[in-house]
């Protein structure tokens, strides 16, 4: 068991930072919220537009294919979500990857793969963002970018729950998971 006794509520426009040591269960909690992992007990309730079609899950893996080029992958996600292909180009520009459009996935650095993963969030607008260490492998510019994207998303009424290390987002609530570690054997 990773944790118990966890309870919180979040509203539109808010963001929640999950903090805690490695292995404390931040990723697991995000996966439970995303519906990927099933919890042993407890309930996750989204009211309003937060069902599966209203969420974005960005895990700590980037889902970048080695053989497709960056723009091809962004365009794939546009088609996947039923969005116009032009959204892919716009998203690539926004995350600062346009110059790497024609580079295959294996030629991208870790930070560039992360930015490519971020384009999903822009291509398809969805109210709830579940982000697992969104700034991992990103340089200062990249971290600023993520901060901007989160702020813009919240301004539009979106909600963000993110597992973070180090610097967080302005005006976020913080939940420290390490305090919720399962109690040891009696």
């Amino acid at each position: 068991m990773l944790f118990e006794g966890l309870s919180f509520a979040l509203s539109a426009g808010e963001s929640l930072e999950l903090r805690g040591a490695n292995g404390s269960g931040k990723s697991t909690l995000l996966r439970i919220l995303a519906g990927l992992t099933r919890q042993h007990a407890g309930e996750v309730r989204y009211s309003g537009a937060g069902d599966e079609a209203g969420r974005h899950f960005l895990g700590h893996l980037d889902a970048v294919k080695p053989s497709e080029t960056a723009i091809e992958q962004a365009q794939f996600w546009a088609r996947y979500f039923g969005r116009p292909v032009a959204e892919a180009d716009a998203a690539m520009k926004r995350v600062g990857l346009s110059s790497r459009n024609a580079v295959p996935g294996r030629g991208l650095s870790a930070g560039q793969k992360r930015r490519l993963a971020l384009t999903r969030l822009l291509i398809e607008p969805r109210p709830v963002w579940l982000l697992d260490e969104p700034t991992a492998a990103l340089d200062t510019e990249g971290r600023t970018l993520v901060g901007q994207l989160v702020a813009e998303h919240r301004a539009r009424g979106g909600m963000v729950i993110a597992a973070v290390h180090g610097e967080g987002f302005a005006g976020s609530r913080v939940l420290d998971i390490s305090g919720l570690k399962a109690r040891a054997a009696k």
Binding site: A34, G35, L36, T37, R38, D51, E52, A53, G54, R55, H56, F57, G59, H60, L61, D62, A63, V64, K65, S67, E68, F76, R79, Y80, F81, G82, R120, L130
Partner: protein, 221 residues
């Protein structure tokens, strides 16, 4: 709908570009079918008796080969997580991927089978039938195989487990398909057997994605 179709198109492209995806199974098919005369003797009569059955077994095993890779890469690089987290049903994803892999690998296997048929002293006039039977049979093998592939996704060397789990599911297709080939070889009526093989395929296409989806959700969990 658009999600599954886009996954299908992507898989097709990836399967073809990913370093000659069909080469290995096709090569294996040719090599193992070519072992037949070493096993049963080179006389025409022996080959015509044993050839169809052995070829069908070789087709089944060649279809089993690509199964290990079916879901592995997507699981490992987080693509499966992305699909699951986006709210698109895993059934559609499983169907799209399996169908794409069949087109990329199964159809080439079916194209090769008349060639192997003739090499094993089968009547050349039957080539069309052999191609059709192999098309339908490989479709069944791929879809039933996808269940094993999903169950073993994420395992190192899941190939053995896939085989053990999938071979019982292959039995109907084995029986009906081999009977079709056998009837063709003996000049008997093959239509009934071919129909049954096609039914097995349809059953596979209809049910396997559900089993595979359940297994994929377990793998992601």
């Amino acid at each position: 709908m658009s999600a599954s179709f886009s996954v299908f198109a992507r898989e097709l492209k990836l399967a073809w570009s990913g370093g000659g995806g069909a080469a290995l199974p096709v090569g294996f098919f040719a090599a193992s079918a070519s072992m037949t005369p070493f096993a049963v003797g080179a006389e025409t009569a022996a080959l015509q008796t044993a050839g169809p059955g052995v070829m069908w077994i070789a087709l089944a095993l060649s279809s089993l080969l690509p199964m290990e890779r079916l879901f592995q890469a997507d699981l490992e690089d987080g693509t499966l997580d992305a699909y699951a987290g986006s709210g698109v049903g895993m059934e559609g994803i499983a169907l799209a991927k399996t169908l794409a892999h069949w087109i990329a690998t199964g159809i080439p296997l079916a194209v090769l089978s008349p060639v192997l048929w003739i090499m094993l002293q089968g009547a050349p006039e039957q080539s069309g039938l052999i191609f059709a039977a192999s098309l339908v049979g490989s479709l069944a093998f791929f879809f039933f195989g996808s269940i094993g592939a999903a169950l073993a996704a994420g395992m190192r060397r899941g190939g053995l487990l896939i085989a053990l789990v999938t071979l019982p599911l292959y039995v109907p297709t084995m029986i009906f398909g081999a009977a079709t080939l056998d009837a063709a070889a003996n000049g008997a009526d093959w239509a009934g057997a071919l129909m049954l093989t096609a039914s097995a395929s349809l059953f596979g296409i209809a049910t396997a994605p559900f089993g595979a989806a359940m297994a994929l959700r377990t793998a992601i969990d």
